[in-house]
Structure formats: structure tokens, C-alpha cells
């Protein structure tokens, strides 16, 4: 901070010193100044100043004299502006007289005196001669000057480097090295010089007390460039970057989760939305749905899914190559070095047609130079099912509900024997309950799962050759018995450098096996009645049938034990083997010009098997005449291959104050996928669990499968220009050619322009010293979306392979084609600000964005007599507007004591609006509404509907006034506001929105002397949700199966009850079978806070690691998903329960 007290001069520029300083700092400054002055006077006496000066001027301004002297001698004047107060114009005529003599002459009649140190002439006022006056601030400020330091910047081999920038840290002062690599800068001892050069790693050098020429040799950047934004194609200094991008290191991720990159990112960045999947819970084999910022296109998939609107996955780039979500999901986190989320147009348009939904760039660890190093990471985890959201009835309560629902009542017309039979059934059940049978079915298929993960990394090498090898094994069992995900992978990384060439090759092999639980869907356990016994009380064996059916009456239904299949030999798994080879060569044509070539070849073989033997409960109904169809074996085989290649040139150079980076390149890609499925029937013997033992193919079935190929060719370029690191310009361009486009128009252009302004570097504006960084940036541009069927633009035929005509396969039109079709383009605007304060103790970042997809890709209806009922066109507009806020604050920051305490928080508000939609989308609404009114399995929950002015995630339901106390029926409001008992889908209006108004993360990291604690929380506020538990398991609960406990307490029972839910039985006592559909009664505000992780860590101190010849010895204890606090009480984890995870992780590095 002492620099704040100094006034600094660079050539003729000067600055007024800050005068308001805290007392303590002033004292510190004083001590330093005294020290300096001592040195100064010693030097003055020792030096001889014999250099000649010539000057001839009349009434010349004193400053012009200074300039002349500086020009002739190379000495600089250093002074504070008030020193020159009351100076007079000078008239001197001098011919080659020594400098000292000239200066004496010059200042003879002036109120100014001088002294000379090195090549600097220091000026101060004559009336301040008392150097021992201790508290004279004016004097101090006059004399506290920086001294010129000279230095030499070379490259690794000692060649001088011209054009390197030398900056004094935390100041605006900078110089550029000359052709001989030398520089001179005014700096005080203790200052830190930062030397930067494009494509070289920057270095920091502390100025010593009496330093001679400082020698700095810069190393070229190989892999790491600190403080750079990486997008998979090029790197740009963060300082120069105008885009919106967030970077997280593996250390950031590790604080939250040690195994799942995506889950860790979700807890770090609010813009990454990954809704907790209420249906599939913690199923390890369920890939998550991800979206960055808002939805830019419309989900055509599942209209009835609660998260159907999250259908816009980002593009995943791993080490420069596009990969699938699955690859990232299965990636060993220890291989990751850094993850960058690219959001706005300036950041993403370099990925053109695939970038509209954002880009996730992941960089992996590269081997470092040095001795052989061994890293070992271990993770042992304990997963325990989290059933806190379930609240089911016990045996006696259940029977109470059954009685209340009237399921044992009969009509007198059915005769006395029916009534007797039902009473008998009830008594039997009651007897079981009284005998103490109260099965907690939920826990039956569950286990506490112990998982483990090991990964080893070996690396090392020298100047020319480096190598790395990694092996990892991950065994992740799920909390449902038998389900697991197993991953084994290995890779070899080789890096070879020779003069200006570098070759890198990474070969990796991954084997994965995902096994699904033989216990089936968890939901079938939640509905089992507690008075049923899962096992035979005598033999202890699992019962196959819980309740036999005698008649076909509703209360006497055949029920199988969902656990039975698990006693058989069944298979339900998918496995894949992936081999990927990435090769890269870099050729430094010139120090500032590099040509890179990359090739990636990846192939993945997928095998899936579903096997059920004849004994499985699924085949109980198959008649004996068809015994050979009992049991089946489904085998799926697939191969995906991908080739990707890039050639690009990188250029970067400083020209004085101008910094220029340029990248231009070419990308080529082919993805091919193929799969087929064969089914064979008839497996009477469960031990014969191979497709070969099947008895027959299903009648009239044939192998099914799919096949696709996609090719892409792109040209891309980026130009990044900065003037004095203050004014920034970024221009990107990409031209994508894809086989998805029609043959006449394979290519589509994408572009972006970004502007930035580093205000903290500004000269003319007074920037508070408390501000370390203040940057404004704005960008606009266009990007494209990936979801474009290839047949939409071109008229396409498909071969009718499922059938034949005579002995020929015919071809029929698949699409009409629309030659005018354009690629769906999303125009993005982003305005942001980065502000770092108080020596980087507070770091903030703010973004405002508007993303508008104008030519939404939708289908347009036409008369069926045109041969097709619809064709594709660009019609409709969807817009996402939002703000993002990031904040990190260090409460404690003491690098020496390894003590930190920070708080971080980030928040996203996104508003999605459908501005214009097509008729076809409106028709989709009718279809969706039809799903609610059909007689067979109607959908009881709201369905996704699209209307102009609403968002894609709006919830549509009929407004409800609650349950009529007199009848137990629900009272609805029609669209026009009248009361009615009748539910009609036409009365559905927007009653909420699934998307939260505000979502975000907050957390804290505390570290003291090697100990660390991290807590990370995630919240969703201001959204609504349709409580499916209330609608399906309370209101529409089927009383013959087990239900939520609120059925007993919260449902209407008799006239006058003010209940939340309709009656179990009608007013005349018969069981209610009417179904309540989308009603606003079940729409609840969803304010939820998830605790994603609590992490404890310890890093052993150096004295211990040294003794163990280790460089790092760290251990972490994680508690993942310890609790959820929500304003909604509903069952979470329907088909697969959620889990809490406890894991212990060791990270060791050996020398």
C-alpha cells in the first residue's frame, strides 16, 4: 500500500498524490522515505555530472526547459506539481555546459532546489530544507519518489525480447521494452514488477533495495496461462476478454463434490440449471437435464413432464473436442483442471450453430516437467436413502382409510354373500394388522451403498519429453439394491517438444457398466399395503403373490410382490467401451505465430441387455398355450464413432500500446451412430440367460434400430484487440456447414462483437485506490441451436424398411422440405460489469442479458390434401431476459498463515417469454389438453402448454375455490369467473410458473492452517410447483393401495368438514372414483433451499509431507445433500429415492 503515498512520473506525465492517508500508513511511508533520502544524498556526492547541456531560451516555461534537458541528457525530472508553484519563466543561454552547472544556473532564482539520483533529478522547494522535521507531510509527499530501475527481458535462451510490457503491480505505470529488451521504470524498493508478453507466462519480480539491472527471462506458455479465459480453441487474458464466462478450477469443484463435475458446477454457478429430478432421484444411471440461463427453444418431447421445459442442453467441449453429456458425467474429476462456462455471444459464437444454449469447456490436467510424480486419489462414499419426504400409513391407519373410503361396502342388490365375503376380507386384514404385520415396504428394495473410487496419476518428464498416465476405477452403487454404475478408465498422455514443434497425444480407454435394480420401480413399493407380508412367515422365502384374486372385483385384486423378480436371475444393464485418441501438434512458426493441428478419434461400443425369465411376474397372465413367449431377452448393440479435426493459427503481439490477438481456423467433424435391438422369447429356465437359449423370435417382429450420420465443416476466426489494456474489442465469426442443412445451403454464418473498457486502468479518471478492477463489457451476436432435423429443409425420402412390396423396399416422402428454412438463430445481448475491491477482497461480477430466438423452428399446419399436415418453418419468437450476480468476499485473507475465510453467492433471475408462436404449437396445446380428458389413463397433472406472453414453463390449471364443506366436492372457477363443480380443460389458466424467479447458490469456505470447512447451499425462490404427492397420493389416492398419511387427516369426511381435499367417499358412502385433474389447489409456491455439501478438509503441513516424501497430503470429508428445506411437502424420488452421501477422500502426491 505504500505506493499510494508515492507520486509517480512516467516521462512527462505526472499525477497528483493522494493526500488523505490513514495515519499508520503515513508512518510507514515516512520510514521508507527517510531511508531513501539517505541513499539519495550519498549518491549525489559520489556522482559526477559532466554531461553537456545546451540551451537558448528567453522567458521559457520552466517545464519546457525540463523537457529539453531530458531530451539532451536522458535524465528525468521527478517532482510534485506544487513544487513548481511560483516558479518564473527562465532566460538562459548556455552552450554545452555540464548538467550540474546548468541546473544550478536554472534554479538559482527559483524557489526550487534539486538533487540527482542515478538518472533522476529530484525537485523540492527551497523553503523546506529542514529534513528532520518529522511530521511534515508535504515534504514527505514531495520527496517520496520512486527511483528508476532498469532491467532486461529475455526469452528462455537469453535472447532479448522487444515489446514486453513491464507494469508496477497495483499501479497504472507501465513501460515497454525496447529493441534490446531493456527497460527503465520508476519503482520503489518493495514494488512488484509484472512482466508480460503475449504467449509467454507473465512473471512478477520484487524490486530489491539497491537493485542493479533486473534480469528476467520469460517462459513460453505451454499449457497453463493463469488468469486466462479458455474456450477450447484459444486463450485470451481475462483482462482483455469482453465475453461473459465463468471459470472454476478443480479446487473450487472439489470443495463441493469429489466425483461429479456437473453436480459441483451446479452448486457453484447459478446460471447452470439442473433441476433435482423428483422422479429418478439419486439413480446413478440417470443422466441429468441441464440448461444454461433460459430455454431458447421449445421442448417437443414430453408434454407431461414437470421439467419438460428444460430441454436445451449446452455444448460440451473436453480438451477442445465436442463430447456427449455422458462423457462428462463419467469423467474422473481428478483429470479435470478447469471448467469454463461460456454464456454470451462474444464467448460462444466461435462455436456457431451449436452454441445457442451455452458452452461448457473442460480442460484436463497435463503432465508437468520434473521428476516422476505420483498422485493418488481415493474416495470412499456411503449413500443412505433419504425417505424423509415420505409419510405413509401404517397397517391400522390404512385399514381405517379403507373403511372410510367404503371399499368394503356393497350394494344390497349384490346379495348377502358378497357382503359376507368382503367382511371376511376385512377381518383377515385386520387380523394380520393386529398380529403386528406392518411392513415398511419402502425400505425393502433399499440398501446403504458403499462406493469407492481410486485414481492414480503418474507424470513427469524433461524439457523435450513429458509423459502422464492415469488409471481410475469408480464403483458407485445406488441405494436401490443391485443398481450401480461402474467405471474403469485409463489413459496415456505423451508430450514431445523439439525446437519450435510440440506434439501431444492422449489415448484413453473407458469402460462403463450401468446396472439397473432388479427390484423395479421404487413407486411400486410406496403403494404396497403395510398389512401384506413380503415373505412367507414359515419358510422365509419371498412371496410371489401378495394377494390372489378370486373375483374381478376392485377390492380383491391380484397383486404381485414387486420384490419377486429380484429373487430370479434377471439382467438389466448397459455397458460401453470408449476409446478416444486426441492428437495435437503445435508449430511456433514465429514467436507470435503458432499453427496448431488437432485430431480426435473416438469410438464407443454400446451393449444393452434386458433379460426376464419365464418365472418373472410379468408373464403370470400369459396362457399356457403361449408358454414359449414367456421370458424375453432384449439385446441392443450400438457403435458411435466420431472424428474431429482442427487446424488453426494463433497470433498474438503487442505493438506499443496495442495488443492484438487473432485466431483463424478450420474444423471438420463426423459423428456416426448405429444401433440395433433384437428380442428373443421363451426362457423357461432362468439359468439359461443367454440370447442363444431363447425358443423363438416374437411373431411378426424384426430387428429394430437406428442409424445416423452427421457431418460438420466450419471456418472460424476471432480478433481481439486492446488499446493499452483499456479499450477492448472482440470480433468473432464462424461459418458452419452441416449435413443437417439442405444441399443448396449447407452453410450458415454466426458472429459476435464485444466491447470492453477497463476503467481501473484509465488515466484521466480518478479511480479510487480501493478498486482493483472495474471493467464494463457489452457484446452482441448470433448463435445457433442444435435441434434441427435434417429432413426439415430438404425434401427427403425414407426407405420403408419395416415392410416390402413384392420383393422390393419402397421409398416414401418423409418431408415436404422447405427450401426457405433458416437455421434457428439466437441473438444474444450481454452487458456486464466486473468489480474487484479492497485488494481483491471483494470480487463481483454482474451480467444483464437478453437472448432472443426470432425464427423459432416450428411446424406449420397445412391442409392434409397437400400430402402433409405440416411442414417446418421459422415462426415464433422466444425471449429470455435475465440478470446474473456473482459475489465473493474474503473476510480473512492471510497468505502467510494459510488462513482464508470467504463467502460466495450468486444468483440468477431469468424471465422466459413466448413472444410469438405458430398455429402448430397452439394445436399442440389441444393435444396436450386431450391427454387430460381421454378416458384411458388421463393425465392428472397440468400439461405443458404454449401461449403468447407466457413462458415455456407456465403451469396451466383450473382455478379452485377449495372443497365445498357441504358436499366434499371441489368448486372451480371457470375462465370467466363463475363457480362450478365441473372441471373442464377449457377453464385452465396460468396459475404459476415452474421456473424460479430467483435461483442461486451461497456458501462459505473457511481455511485455517490446513483445516478447511466448506458449506454450499442452493436455493430456488419465487417459482411454483404442482404438488404431485397431494394430487396423486392424497387427493386421487387409490384407497386400495397405500397412500400418503394426509389422506387420513386432511380429506373431507362428512358434511361441514372444512377440508383441503375431497372426500374419500361420496356423501352417500360409496368409494369415490372420480379423478381430480389439474387444479390450482395443488399449485404451491416453491421456495426451496438445498444443502448440496458440507465439506471438511485438512491439508497436512509441509514438515509432515516432506518427511513422507510427498508434495501434498490432503483429506476431505463430504456430506452431500444433507438436507433440503422446502415450502412444498411432497414425495421426492418417485421411481428411485434420493440419497444422502457421506464420503471420505484422500489426495496424495508423491515425489
Amino acid at each position: 500500500m505504500q505506493n499510494a503515498a508515492l507520486f509517480l512520473i512516467k516521462r512527462h506525465k505526472y499525477y497528483a498524490a493522494k493526500t488523505s492517508l490513514p495515519v499508520r500508513q503515513v508512518l510507514l511511508v515516512m520510514k521508507l522515505t527517510v531511508l531513501l533520502l539517505t541513499v539519495v544524498f550519498m549518491n549525489v556526492t559520489a556522482a559526477s555530472f559532466s554531461q553537456g547541456v545546451s540551451f537558448n531560451g528567453k522567458k521559457a516555461d520552466i517545464k519546457s526547459v525540463f523537457r529539453e534537458i531530458e531530451k539532451q541528457t536522458g535524465y528525468f525530472f521527478v517532482y510534485n506539481e506544487p513544487v513548481l508553484q511560483n516558479t518564473r519563466p527562465v532566460s538562459i543561454k548556455a552552450e554545452n555546459i555540464p548538467l550540474l552547472e546548468f541546473l544550478n544556473l536554472l534554479f538559482k532564482d527559483q524557489p526550487v532546489d534539486f538533487m540527482i539520483k542515478s538518472k533522476t533529478i529530484l525537485l523540492f522547494r527551497k523553503d523546506r530544507e529542514g529534513l528532520n522535521s518529522e511530521n511534515d507531510e508535504t515534504l514527505l509527499s514531495e520527496l517520496a519518489v520512486a527511483l528508476p530501475i532498469t532491467g532486461l527481458v529475455t526469452d528462455e535462451k537469453g535472447n532479448p525480447m522487444a515489446g514486453a510490457t513491464v507494469t508496477i503491480k497495483n499501479t497504472k505505470q507501465a513501460v515497454v521494452t525496447g529493441a534490446d529488451g531493456r527497460f527503465t521504470i520508476n519503482a520503489s524498493p518493495g514494488d512488484v514488477l509484472i512482466i508480460t508478453f503475449v504467449n509467454y507466462a507473465s512473471q512478477e519480480v520484487k524490486v530489491a533495495n539497491n537493485s542493479d539491472t533486473i534480469r528476467i527471462s520469460l517462459k513460453p506458455i505451454v499449457a497453463e496461462l493463469e488468469d486466462a479465459v479458455v474456450n477450447g480453441i484459444y486463450r485470451r487474458p481475462t483482462e482483455n476478454y469482453t465475453g461473459s464466462a465463468q471459470t472454476y478450477t478443480v479446487e473450487d469443484l472439489r470443495k463441493i463434490n469429489n466425483t461429479n463435475v456437473l453436480a459441483a458446477l451446479r452448486s457453484l454457478d447459478a446460471s447452470m440449471q439442473m433441476p433435482s429430478n423428483i422422479i429418478s432421484g439419486s439413480d446413478p444411471n440417470q443422466l441429468p437435464q441441464i440448461q444454461i440461463r433460459g430455454a431458447n427453444s421449445i421442448a417437443n418431447a414430453d408434454l407431461t413432464s414437470q421439467y419438460g421445459y428444460v430441454s436445451n442442453p449446452p455444448l460440451f467441449i473436453l480438451d477442445g473436442f465436442e463430447v456427449s453429456l455422458q462423457k462428462i458425467y463419467d469423467l474422473d474429476m481428478n483429470r479435470v483442471s478447469k471448467v469454463t462456462i461460456l454464456k454470451d455471444a462474444a464467448a460462444t459464437s466461435i462455436y456457431g450453430s451449436k452454441a445457442a444454449n451455452g458452452v461448457l469447456v473442460i480442460e484436463t490436467v497435463q503432465p508437468k516437467r520434473g521428476r516422476l510424480q505420483l498422485d493418488y486419489n481415493n474416495n470412499i462414499s456411503l449413500s443412505m436413502p433419504d425417505l424423509t419426504s415420505y409419510n405413509l400409513l401404517n397397517s391400522e391407519q390404512k385399514l381405517q382409510v379403507e373403511l372410510a373410503a367404503g371399499i368394503y361396502n356393497t350394494l344390497p342388490s349384490l346379495g348377502i354373500h358378497v357382503q359376507e365375503y368382503r367382511e371376511e376380507l376385512y377381518n383377515k386384514r385386520l387380523a394380520e394388522a393386529q398380529r403386528g404385520v406392518n411392513t415398511y415396504w419402502l425400505s425393502q428394495p433399499l440398501q446403504t451403498a458403499i462406493g469407492q473410487k481410486h485414481s492414480i496419476f503418474l507424470g513427469g518428464g524433461d524439457e523435450y519429453m513429458r509423459y502422464g498416465a492415469d488409471v481410475s476405477y469408480n464403483h458407485a452403487p445406488g441405494v436401490m439394491k443391485g443398481s450401480k454404475r461402474e467405471n474403469a478408465s485409463g489413459g496415456i498422455n505423451l508430450l514431445y517438444r523439439k525446437s519450435n514443434l510440440q506434439f501431444t497425444n492422449y489415448l484413453s480407454v473407458t469402460h462403463n457398466k450401468s446396472v439397473n435394480s432388479p427390484y423395479g420401480s421404487f413407486s411400486s413399493y410406496a403403494r404396497m399395503n403395510p398389512y401384506w407380508r413380503p415373505t412367507d412367515s414359515v419358510t422365509g422365502r419371498i412371496n410371489k403373490i401378495l394377494q390372489p384374486s378370486v373375483g374381478d372385483a376392485r377390492w380383491d385384486y391380484l397383486t404381485y410382490n414387486p420384490m419377486y423378480n429380484a429373487t430370479l436371475k434377471t439382467h438389466n444393464y448397459t455397458k460401453y467401451l470408449n476409446v478416444t485418441n486426441n492428437f495435437q501438434s503445435d508449430w511456433n512458426i514465429q514467436p507470435d505465430l503458432k499453427l496448431s493441428t488437432r485430431i480426435s478419434i473416438s469410438t464407443q461400443k454400446v451393449d444393452g441387455v434386458v433379460f426376464l425369465p419365464a418365472d418373472a411376474v410379468e408373464f403370470v397372465n400369459t396362457p399356457d398355450s403361449l408358454f414359449s413367449t414367456r421370458g424375453h431377452f432384449k439385446q441392443t448393440t450400438g457403435v458411435n464413432t466420431s472424428y474431429q479435426g482442427d487446424v488453426f493459427l494463433n497470433y498474438g503481439r503487442n505493438f506499443g500500446l496495442h495488443t492484438l490477438f487473432a485466431t483463424g481456423g478450420y474444423h471438420i467433424q463426423q459423428d456416426r451412430s448405429y444401433s440395433n435391438t433384437i428380442t428373443v422369447q421363451g426362457f423357461p429356465n432362468a439359468e439359461m440367460d443367454d440370447i442363444l437359449f431363447g425358443l423363438q423370435y416374437p411373431i411378426n417382429e424384426k430387428p429394430v434400430g437406428s442409424e445416423s450420420v452427421l457431418r460438420l465443416v466450419s471456418f472460424f476466426g476471432n480478433l481481439s484487440y486492446a488499446y493499452d489494456y483499456r479499450y477492448l474489442l472482440d470480433v468473432s465469426f464462424r461459418r458452419d456447414g452441416s449435413s443437417l442443412f439442405g444441399s443448396n445451403k449447407h452453410f450458415a454464418p454466426f458472429w459476435s462483437v464485444g466491447l470492453g473498457w477497463n476503467i481501473h486502468k484509465e488515466h484521466f479518471i480518478q479511480v479510487s485506490e480501493k478498486i482493483d478492477r472495474l471493467k464494463l463489457r457489452v457484446s452482441v451476436g448470433s448463435t445457433g441451436s442444435q435441434n434441427f432435423p435434417s429432413f426439415a429443409s430438404a425434401q427427403t425420402y425414407t426407405y420403408l424398411t419395416a415392410t416390402r412390396y413384392l420383393n422390393h423396399i419402397g421409398a416414401a416422402m418423409y418431408s415436404l422440405g422447405n427450401p426457405d428454412l433458416r437455421w434457428q438463430q439466437t441473438n444474444k445481448l450481454n452487458a456486464g460489469m466486473d468489480l474487484d475491491l479492497f485488494n481483491n477482497r471483494i470480487q463481483t461480477s454482474f451480467n444483464y442479458y437478453v437472448e432472443k430466438t426470432n425464427d423459432l423452428f416450428t411446424s406449420i399446419n397445412t391442409t392434409p390434401s397437400s400430402g402433409f399436415s405440416s411442414f417446418y418453418s421459422n415462426l415464433g419468437t422466444v425471449q429470455n431476459k435475465g440478470i446474473e450476480l456473482y459475489l465473493t468476499a474474503f473476510v480473512l485473507k492471510n497468505e502467510a498463515k494459510r488462513t482464508y475465510w470467504n463467502f460466495y453467492g450468486n444468483a440468477l433471475h431469468n424471465k422466459n417469454t413466448l413472444l410469438k408462436i405458430s398455429d402448430a404449437l397452439k394445436d399442440l396445446n389441444d393435444k396436450a389438453v386431450g391427454e387430460q380428458t381421454k378416458t384411458n389413463n388421463p393425465i392428472t397433472a397440468p400439461v405443458l402448454q404454449y401461449n403468447e406472453g407466457q413462458s415455456v414453463s407456465t403451469i396451466y390449471a383450473v382455478r379452485s375455490l377449495g372443497i365445498d364443506p357441504s358436499t366434499g366436492n371441489e368448486i372451480f372457477l371457470t375462465r370467466s369467473g363463475e363457480q362450478t363443480y365441473r372441471w373442464s380443460p377449457l377453464d385452465e389458466v396460468p396459475v404459476g410458473d415452474y421456473q424460479p424467479k430467483l435461483s442461486g447458490n451461497a456458501g462459505t469456505n473457511f481455511m485455517y492452517n490446513g483445516f478447511s470447512v466448506n458449506v454450499s447451499l442452493r436455493f430456488e425462490l419465487g417459482g411454483q410447483s404442482y404438488n404431485r404427492t397431494l394430487s396423486d397420493r392424497v387427493e386421487n389416492a387409490d384407497p386400495i393401495y397405500n397412500v400418503d398419511a394426509r389422506v387420513l387427516t386432511d380429506r373431507w369426511q362428512k358434511a361441514g368438514d372444512h377440508a383441503k381435499y375431497k372426500g374419500l367417499a361420496t356423501i352417500d358412502g360409496t368409494t369415490r372414483t372420480d379423478i381430480t385433474k389439474a387444479s390450482s389447489r395443488f399449485v404451491q409456491d416453491n421456495n426451496t433451499m438445498y444443502c448440496d455439501a458440507i465439506t471438511l478438509g485438512y491439508q497436512f503441513p509441509k514438515r509432515i509431507t516432506e518427511r513422507l516424501s510427498m508434495t501434498r497430503f490432503q483429506c476431505y470429508f463430504y456430506i452431500n445433500n444433507p438436507f433440503v428445506v422446502s415450502s412444498i411437502k411432497q414425495e421426492r424420488g418417485i421411481d428411485y429415492p434420493f440419497a444422502r452421501n457421506y464420503s471420505l477422500s484422500l489426495q496424495l502426491s508423491f515425489k
Partner: protein, 475 residues
């Protein structure tokens, strides 16, 4: 210099990528590529034939199911829970019935669009074809376009007797996604006749019809000449012209074209040997035009047998009528007055479980060549048309010829025109049982009664409603 080298390298890689980008999945192909070879045109035509054989069209509803339900060949009216009860009551607004009708419309026009696309592309590709194939493919495409439009007209337009100048259906000849205006019944008929006439001329280059997969005359390996019965051949065009002229009321021309077909050497009447031994229930030697439908067996099981896969398919799906004891079938075949010797009664009705079913769609032959046929025009119809267009004496001789082949005694001489017409109706009812032709017969005459129907016939019965989407997007 180095930079230059690099640039050259980049440009070399990048050139020629347009062609590389034309990659498509194997099962998908762009029109331009498809129509780059003769085989592509053939594939596109096979695609249309396949489409015609779909369940929503001639593979089910326009033959065995929906259309003969409308003609009251089955007892759906008397069974209120039958799946086709609403259809048999002509309740065209019923959801399930509407879905069938909408599908017929949509898929027929889909087929027509496919044909139009062939016709649109074939003109400029004349050079691709082996001698004769250009004419045959173009002729078949034009002929089918007319054939399908004609059936659409017979379903969705007014009967020419009641409203020849009423707007009926669009006659579509373009591929655009745009809206084609509705034409009147007469205008559609004129277009149909124009297309058929041109088709007939084009198809006349190769008149040979064979019922085997390999035409004996075809030694060149030109597969398009094989199995001409399963193509819209020259005789099919002529026979359709006879149908159309009769529908239009131009009996003179109808007779000419019918006689032309009758005179052809390629078609002979079915013999009872073939029925008994080969189980050829669709009478292949009489096929002037038939579709080959891949796998009719599931339909046979669904409609014409008691059991499917061991589970009872249910009486609400079965398509049959009361047989024996003077039931509807006995009435149809005039059992009371000597019809018992009719081979169609003797061979085409069999007991399955405890129910008598028509066996026309049973796929029983051990030789797959005799299975999986959907006859669309058969020889007897030409005799019936000729009879309807002739004086009573000639008409009687035409009818007697067919009766003889079917094992029936000759009609008495001296029948008047009305009696002849009644005999012709009976013949349509017997001959085309489960083939979907009878409804058109009633409609052509705008008959006020449909045999076995409790509902008087009128435009409400004869004119199927256009799909809502067709009307909605027509504005």
C-alpha cells in the same frame, strides 16, 4: 512463405466439402439424390404401392373393413358394442369413425403427393430409363393419381346423380404444401379421365400381364416388367376408365373400355381347383390390379377368426354376418333359390370356432405366392359393367358367363332392365364381399336403400365429411 504454405494447406482441405456434407443416414435420402437413377424412381413407386397397402387405405379400411361396414356386409348395426357400430350407423362425427375417415383422406393425398413428386421429376430424367420404363413408370404414376382421386371422389364427393356440379375434393397435381381449391364432381371426373387416358396410352407399350414374379417375356432382367398385376398396368387403366365412365354415366365409353379388358388374353376366371388346392381365395387369375401387402395375417386374425394368439379377440371386433338358417349370408347368396352351388358360398365361408367367417382374407396357402394379395380390380367387374351398359339380353349373357364360372345356373331369359340391375347388385354383393366395392355401387346409383341397413341412404350416408384440418387451413 510458411504462412503461404499453411494457407494453401487450409484451402486444400476445405475445398470439396460441399459434397462431403451431403451425407445422410442410409435409410434417408434427399429427393434429388433419389431421382438420380432409374432405381430411385422405381423405389419411389414401390413406396406409393406400399402406402396404398397401409391399413388406413386399401390394406384394411378401403377394402375389408370400413367400406364394407358402410355397405352393411357385416352385422355391425345389430351389435351396439361393436367397434364399428358407429360407422355402420353412418355416425361420421363419432371420434373413432372420424379418425378413420381423416386417415383415409390424409394418407390418400400423401400417396398422391408422392406420385406428383415422381411426375414432377421424371420429365427431365427421361434419359435415365431403360427402353419402355419411362412410359411405364410415368403411366403408372398418372394412372394411380387418377385411381386414388377417383376413390376419394367416390368417398367424399356427391354422387354424380345427385350433385355433379357440387364442389367435392381438390385434384392435386403439385408438391408444395400449398392449398389446392376444391373441384366439382364433374371437374374431378374430367381430370381423372384425362389422366387415365394419358396413362393408358403410356402403358400400352407393354401390355403383358403375368401372375408370376417373373414375366416369361422378360428376359432382360428389367424387374419393372415382372408381376405386372401388382402394378397399375395398361389393363388397370382401361378397367378404371370403364369404372369412371360408368360412374359418370357415360355408358357408351364404359362399355368400350370394359370390352377391351374382357377381350384381353391375360385374365381368366378362377377355377374351384385353385380355391381348394392352392387356397387362392382372392382369385388371382382374375386380378387386373392387385396390391401386394406385406403380412395380412394379423388382420385375418383380428377380423376373421375367433381367436388370436389364444386370447378371444371378442365379438366386437369380428367382421362377419349371420350364416345359415336363412341369415344375411344365405340371403346374399340366394340359398333359398339355388345359390347353394355357388363356389363363393361353398369355399369362401368357413367355420372358425363356432362362427362362420368369410375366408377371402385367410392366408392359408402353403405357397407364399398365393398369399398377401389385396385385389383392387377383378375381371368379373368388367362383365358387370358391360352388362350394365348393354341391353337386357346382352346383359343377361354377360351375367350368365360369370354365373357359370361361379357354379350358378343361368338367369332366365327375358329379364327387364330393373331385374338385370337387381341381379347386378346381388353380384356386387356376393362377388366383392369384404372387398369394399359395394358401397360405391350404391352411391353411384344414389340408391335410397342399402340392403340390411336400418337407415335410409342419402347424402348424409354417401358423403363422408372432409377432415376438420382440411377445412380449417383451407381459409
Amino acid at each position: 512463405m510458411r504462412i503461404l504454405l499453411v494457407s494453401i494447406l487450409l484451402i486444400t482441405i476445405a475445398s470439396g466439402c460441399n459434397k462431403w456434407l451431403d451425407a445422410k443416414p442410409k435409410t434417408m435420402v434427399e429427393s434429388e439424390q433419389l431421382f438420380g437413377s432409374e432405381k430411385g424412381f422405381e423405389d419411389a413407386m414401390y413406396g406409393v404401392y406400399t402406402t396404398m397397402g397401409e391399413s388406413s387405405l386399401y390394406g384394411e379400411h378401403l377394402t375389408m373393413a370400413f367400406l364394407d361396414v358402410l355397405a352393411q356386409q357385416y352385422n355391425c348395426q345389430t351389435n351396439p358394442s361393436h367397434n364399428f357400430h358407429q360407422a355402420s350407423m353412418y355416425n361420421y362425427q363419432d371420434g373413432a369413425v372420424k379418425a378413420i375417415i381423416d386417415n383415409i383422406w390424409t394418407r390418400m393425398y400423401y400417396g398422391i403427393t408422392n406420385l406428383n413428386n415422381v411426375l414432377l421429376n421424371i420429365e427431365s430424367k427421361k434419359d435415365l430409363f431403360r427402353p419402355g420404363n419411362y412410359e411405364l413408370i410415368k403411366g403408372e404414376a398418372m394412372g394411380l393419381r387418377a385411381f386414388m382421386h377417383f376413390d376419394l371422389l367416390r368417398l367424399f364427393g356427391s354422387s354424380p346423380v345427385s350433385g355433379a356440379s357440387k364442389p367435392a375434393i381438390p385434384y392435386v397435381t403439385t408438391v408444395s404444401g400449398g392449398v389446392t381449391p376444391l373441384s366439382t364432381v364433374n371437374a374431378v371426373l374430367d381430370s381423372v379421365i384425362a389422366d387415365l387416358t394419358e396413362a393408358s396410352q403410356l402403358l400400352s407399350v407393354y401390355k403383358t400381364v403375368s401372375l408370376t414374379y417373373y414375366s416369361p417375356e422378360n428376359s432382360s432382367g428389367n424387374t419393372w416388367l415382372n408381376h405386372r398385376q401388382a402394378h397399375f398396368n395398361y389393363w388397370a387403366a382401361e378397367a378404371t376408365l370403364a369404372r369412371v365412365y360408368l360412374y359418370k354415366g357415360d355408358k357408351q365409353k364404359a362399355l368400350t373400355h370394359a370390352q377391351n379388358v374382357i377381350g384381353a388374353e391375360y385374365f381368366t376366371f378362377q377355377t374351384s381347383d385353385r380355391i381348394g388346392n392352392l387356397k387362392d381365395y382372392t382369385f388371382i387369375p382374375e386380378h387386373i390390379f392387385a396390391l401386394s401387402k406385406f403380412n395380412i395375417r394379423p388382420l385375418e386374425n383380428k377380423y376373421f377368426r375367433v381367436t388370436t394368439n389364444g386370447a378371444n379377440a371378442g365379438t366386437n371386433i369380428q367382421l362377419t354376418n349371420s350364416y345359415g338358417n336363412g341369415g344375411a349370408v344365405d340371403q346374399i347368396y340366394d340359398i333359398a333359390s339355388g345359390g347353394v352351388s355357388d363356389v363363393r358360398y361353398a369355399h369362401l365361408w368357413q367355420l372358425n370356432g363356432s362362427v362362420y367367417f368369410p375366408t377371402k382374407w385367410w392366408q392359408e396357402s402353403g405357397n407364399p405366392v398365393y398369399n398377401n394379395w389385396v385385389p383392387l380390380i377383378r375381371l368379373p367387374e368388367m362383365y358387370y359393367i358391360a352388362a350394365e351398359c348393354s341391353d337386357p339380353a346382352t346383359a343377361t349373357s354377360y351375367l350368365n358367363l360369370v354365373r357359370e364360372k361361379r357354379g350358378l345356373p343361368s338367369l332366365p331369359a327375358g329379364l327387364d332392365a330393373t331385374a338385370i340391375q337387381e341381379e347386378i347388385r346381388k353380384e356386387y354383393q356376393k362377388e366383392f364381399y369384404a372387398e369394399g366395392q359395394l358401397f360405391y355401387y350404391y352411391k353411384r346409383l344414389n340408391s335410397s336403400t342399402i340392403k340390411f341397413s336400418v337407415i335410409p341412404a342419402s347424402d348424409q350416408v354417401y358423403i363422408l365429411p372432409l377432415p376438420d384440418a382440411e377445412l380449417q387451413y383451407r381459409n
